[in-house]
Assembly symmetry: C2
Homo-oligomer: 228 residues x 2
DNA sequence: GCGACGAATTGATGTGGATCAAGGCTTTTT
DNA sequence: AAAAAGCCTTGATCCACATCAATTCGTCGC
C-alpha cells in the first residue's frame, strides 16, 4: 500500500514541469520524502507568518496566494494551477511564508519538505538548473505584474489582462476566466466594482462581449488601441 | 596587462557575495569571460527591450532599475548597490531586458556573459545554489515591495520605508538616504510632492527630523503606531 | 562668491477609482 | 422546487493622491 503510494508519487512528480526529464534515481529520494495532500475548496493551506514546511506542487485544482491587508482585505499575488509550484523560494531563506495560500477549488497537492528539497538540489545539478529557471520565470512574471498594477490605469490593466490571457494569437478570441472576477480584480489591484464597470465600458464600445465567465474579444488591435 | 586585469577581476569577483567561497578553479573560467566596465552618473546601461548580454555585478557605485511608462514617467523597481547583481534572472530566459538600467552615480561594474554564466552553472553545483538563494532573496524583496506599494497608504509606505532602512535595531536611529528623494518616492510609488509632504507631516508630529538627506527617527514604536 | 540648473518644498486644484448601498443573478443546499 | 448564500452589477458619493504652478534650496562649475 505504502509502496503503491510512493510509486504513484514518483509517477506524478515525473509529469510535473519542475521534475520532468530527471533521472529515475534522482527522483526516487524526492518521491520518498514527498507527502501527498488534498485541500477542499476555500480551505486555507497556510497563513502568512507560518513556518515553512517546503515546496508545494499543485497537481490538480487551484491555489490562490495573497497578501492580507490590515483592514481584512487582501491582494491576490498569484493564482497557481496544475503544474505550478509555490513556497520554494521561501524554503531557501530562513523566513516564514510571506503570503496566505488558499485553495480556490478542490485540489490535489504534493509537499516536498525543505530538507528533502535541499538534499536533492545538492545532488542534482540538473534539478538546480530547473529551479533557477523556475524562479527566474516567477521573477519575470512579478515584474510584469508590477508593471500592470503600478503604471497603468484601470482600463489599461483590464485590456492588458485580456490580451495576456489570449489562448490563440488571432485578432479575435475567447477568454474563459479561470478564477472568480473578485480574484482577478484583486490581482489587477482593482475593486470588484471597478473591474465590472470597465468590462461594461469595453462591451459598450463594442470591443468585447461578456457572457458570464466567457469573454469574447472581438478585435485585439482596436482593444489595445482603446487603452492607449 | 591583460593578465593584470584578469587577475584583478578574479580578485574582485571573489569578494562579491555571489561568488564568495567558490573554489579558485571554479572562479577562473568565470573571471576569464568577465568584462569590466564603467558607467558615469546618469549613464544608461541598457534599455528595456534590449537583448540580454548577461549578468551584471555592481562593484562600486549605484544602478537604478526602472520601468518606463507610456507618458515618459518611470517606476523605480530596484536600486542596486555594491555587491548586488542584476540581469541574471532574465539571462536564463530567452527574453529581452524587462527594465531600464541607469547608473545614479559613477560606477564600476562587471558583466558576466550569458554563455559564461550558464557554463559555470553547469559545472558548479555550489554556484547554482548561490544563484538559487540570490533569486529567492530578490523574489522575497519583490513581494515585500508589492505589499508596500499596493496595500498601504502614503503615510504607511513612508513609515515602512524608514523602518526597513533602520541601520540599528534601537528605538531611535538615523537613516541616510542612499538615493535622491525622487528615486525613493518612485520606489514607494508616490509622487515626489507627496513624499515630501508626508515627511513634513511626520516632522510636524514630532516623530522624525529631516535634515537634508539625513532623517532622524526619534521613536520607532510611536512612528509605527502613527500609521496604523 | 556668483550664476545656473536641478532637487526639493509648498500651495491650489482636479480626478480616478474606492467605498457605500441596493438590487439582480447564479449556484448550492435541503 | 424553494430557500439561502454568494457573486456580480449598477448607481451615488467621497477622498487620497496626482497634477499643475510657483518658489526656495542646494550644489556644482567657473
Amino acid at each position: 500500500m505504502i509502496l503503491e503510494t510512493r510509486h504513484s508519487i514518483h509517477e506524478i512528480l515525473s509529469r510535473q514541469p519542475m521534475f520532468r526529464g530527471l533521472a529515475a534515481d534522482e527522483l526516487r529520494d524526492i518521491a520518498n520524502g514527498t507527502r501527498e495532500y488534498r485541500a477542499k475548496k476555500n480551505e486555507i493551506i497556510f497563513h502568512r507568518g507560518d513556518a515553512v514546511e517546503g515546496m508545494h506542487v499543485v497537481v490538480m485544482g487551484q491555489v490562490k496566494l495573497s497578501l492580507p491587508s490590515s483592514q481584512g482585505a487582501e491582494k491576490v499575488v498569484h493564482v497557481c494551477g496544475p503544474g505550478n509550484t509555490f513556497g520554494e523560494a521561501v524554503a531557501f531563506l530562513d523566513k516564514p511564508y510571506p503570503v496566505n495560500a488558499q485553495a480556490t477549488a478542490e485540489s490535489l497537492l504534493l509537499l516536498i519538505p525543505k530538507r528533502v528539497l535541499l538534499d536533492a538540489l545538492e545532488l542534482s545539478n540538473n534539478l538546480c538548473r530547473k529551479m533557477i529557471s523556475s524562479l527566474s520565470v516567477r521573477l519575470h512574471e512579478m515584474i510584469s505584474d508590477m508593471e500592470t498594477c503600478l503604471l497603468r490605469n484601470s482600463v489599461q490593466r483590464v485590456v492588458c489582462f485580456l490580451v495576456q490571457s489570449a489562448p490563440e494569437s488571432g485578432d479575435a478570441f475567447e477568454v474563459s476566466l479561470t478564477a472568480s472576477k473578485q480574484t482577478i480584480a484583486s490581482q489587477l489591484n482593482l475593486a470588484p466594482e471597478t473591474f465590472s464597470r470597465v468590462l461594461g465600458q469595453l462591451s459598450e464600445a463594442g470591443l468585447i462581449q461578456v457572457r458570464g465567465r466567457r469573454i469574447a474579444v472581438l478585435d485585439r488591435q482596436r482593444l489595445i488601441g482603446f487603452s492607449g
